[in-house]
Amino acid sequence: MPDFITSYLGSKVTPGEAGNQFWALVYVFIIFAGVALTVMWLLNWIERKALAHFQVRLGPMRVGPHGLLQPFADALKLILKEDIIPTEADQFVFWVAPLIGLLASFTVYTVIPFGPSQAVSDMNIGILFMLGVSSLGVLGIVVAGWASNSHYPLIGALRSSAQMVSYEVAMGLAVVSAILMTSMNASGTGTLSMLGIVRAQQQQGIWFIFKFFPLGLIAFAIFAIAMVAETNRTPFDLAEAESELTAGYHTEYSGLRWSLFMLAEYAAMIAVSSIAVALWLGGWMHPFPNLLSSPTWEFIFSLFPGLTFVGVAAIAFIGAARMPSQSFFRIQRIGLAVFAALLGFIALVLLVIAVAGRSGDTSLAARFREGIDYVYWFLLKVAVFIYLFIWYRATWPRYRFDQLMRIGWKVMLPISLGVLMLTAIVGVIVS
């Protein structure tokens, strides 16, 4: 068995490509569990903390040191809450709607390229599959709004379906212009595979955001705007506009079912951020992959994951040290210190792997180091987007429905079409 594992770790392909169902399942499990935990715990906590600090307040502080355990308390509360299904609701559809959304946003993760071999499967039609499946999420929202048999959810559902369908067009065109860039190579054939798109950036030695300078950037910007609309976040959160529609399509939902909607929404946030990272920001590559690719630089970059954890651990330690000295805070201080120690231990392990994996190219440590590097850089870029999502939410008011549609159809669509054509023309001229 260990031999089997090490042999797999040495494989340069994804489990899907190797036709290895067992490893594919393990991957699916790891990714889903990781995403669910990240969303439930880390993302929830960070969003509430960051938002609170934007808004001159503290955010959760009581459950666990600095509210670190608050998400778990909330999850427990949501699970234990009474499961209310309105009498007039369509029972079955009401029941199945959150699952549709959840399924759609989690299925996307099967093709996200965390690394060259750190993906469940390298689908030939990866990006098409991603867009298609993530567009299924709207079905959950529409159906939830309809099944509630209530006016606010219905309006929310109508808004949401119109919004998502409109922004998908601009989003798709922006994606196509990135796919077009993958074909700017010797053979002239592009690819739809997510891994292939990142590899194309690797071969061409440039992130697509900088390719044909303003064009890639504009396409990326279109996508970055459309993806906020796709995930129903501020300033495009009309489907769940609290002040207008109380809670939009999930007004009648409560408890666990409501939390499934939230889980789906946040999972979708990570998913669309991953698309943006893979298509324009070089996926798993570290910054300046073409310039700084000497072994020394590789080593320096491979230290980053460990150093990040060192930094986080240091912040946690400082937090523990700055806790007020009343006996009331003693348990919290100890908890935070233990947490910091845990982070420090992870940092140590990562640093050891980075140092040990430096020399050889075939040793197990080297492969571990590579894998960690890939996943780290990918997740770091995704994290930037997540922070942007939170930042948007803290800063901007909400668009009105007609303005939203106007922007989608009259601004984003023409621009993305123009960018697509220009990319094609420039591509033909260059090649």
Binding site: D3, F4, S7, Y8, G10, S11, V13, A18, G19, N20, Q21, F22, D90, F92, V93, V96, M123, N124, I125, L128, F129, L131, G132, V133, S135, L136, V138, L139, V142, V143, G145, W146, A147, L154, A157, L158, S161, A162, M164, V165, E168, T189, T191, L192
Partner: protein, 187 residues
């Protein structure tokens, strides 16, 4: 691929496309197809149709047609079905779902359908020899490229279907304009 992995694959971790998978997808497709035409509530029908569409997309994948499967998901399930749901919500179906569901000539319709089914059964049983038991494996990895070169042609040559493709886009345009004009209250 390394030998250990090969061994593991041969030891029973067969590739995804097993017969078992086919039966599950086909069963799902047919069962939810039955649900589509029998449900009283149009939203339930639409949901059942989505399941059918997705299982058919799965069958496409088994037939080494990933691009068609992707198109099926993105256009059918993501686009057309949302349109259907949108319309079902717009037209108040409360009354429609309390109405009689089948029209008066349903026995005739059913008889016609049964005749058709008999015809199909006859054709399939008699013409078994016409459908040779061969699955010529198409190269899945370059499926999209091949479709693209057939649609758009390559190296300056017009593709076999370029003209048809353009006409299809025209058809879509006409359909969009027609839909907009018909649904506008005042033109």
């Amino acid at each position: 691929m390394n030998p250990a992995l090969n061994a593991a694959v041969n030891a029973g971790m067969a590739p995804v496309a097993t017969p078992w998978f086919f039966y599950v997808l086909a069963g799902l497709a047919v069962a939810s197809g039955v649900a589509v035409i029998t449900r009283r509530n149009a939203v339930h029908s639409a949901l059942a149709l989505i399941v059918t569409l997705l299982s058919v997309a799965g069958l496409y994948l088994m037939l080494y047609a990933p691009f068609v499967a992707g198109v099926q998901i993105i256009v059918y399930a993501g686009g057309i079905m949302v349109l259907f749901l949108f319309v079902i919500m717009l037209v108040n179906i409360d009354r429609a779902s309390k109405d009689r569901q089948f029209n008066r000539i349903w026995p005739v319709g059913l008889a016609a359908a049964c005749a058709l089914m008999a015809l199909f059964a006859f054709a399939i049983v008699k013409g078994k020899a016409l459908f040779p038991d061969r699955g010529l494996s198409l190269p899945e990895s370059s499926n999209t490229q091949q479709i693209a070169s057939m649609l758009y042609g390559e190296a300056g040559r017009m593709g076999q279907y370029t003209f048809a493709f353009e006409i299809a886009s025209l058809l879509l345009l006409v359909a969009i304009l027609g839909a907009v004009i018909m649904t506008k209250k005042k033109i």
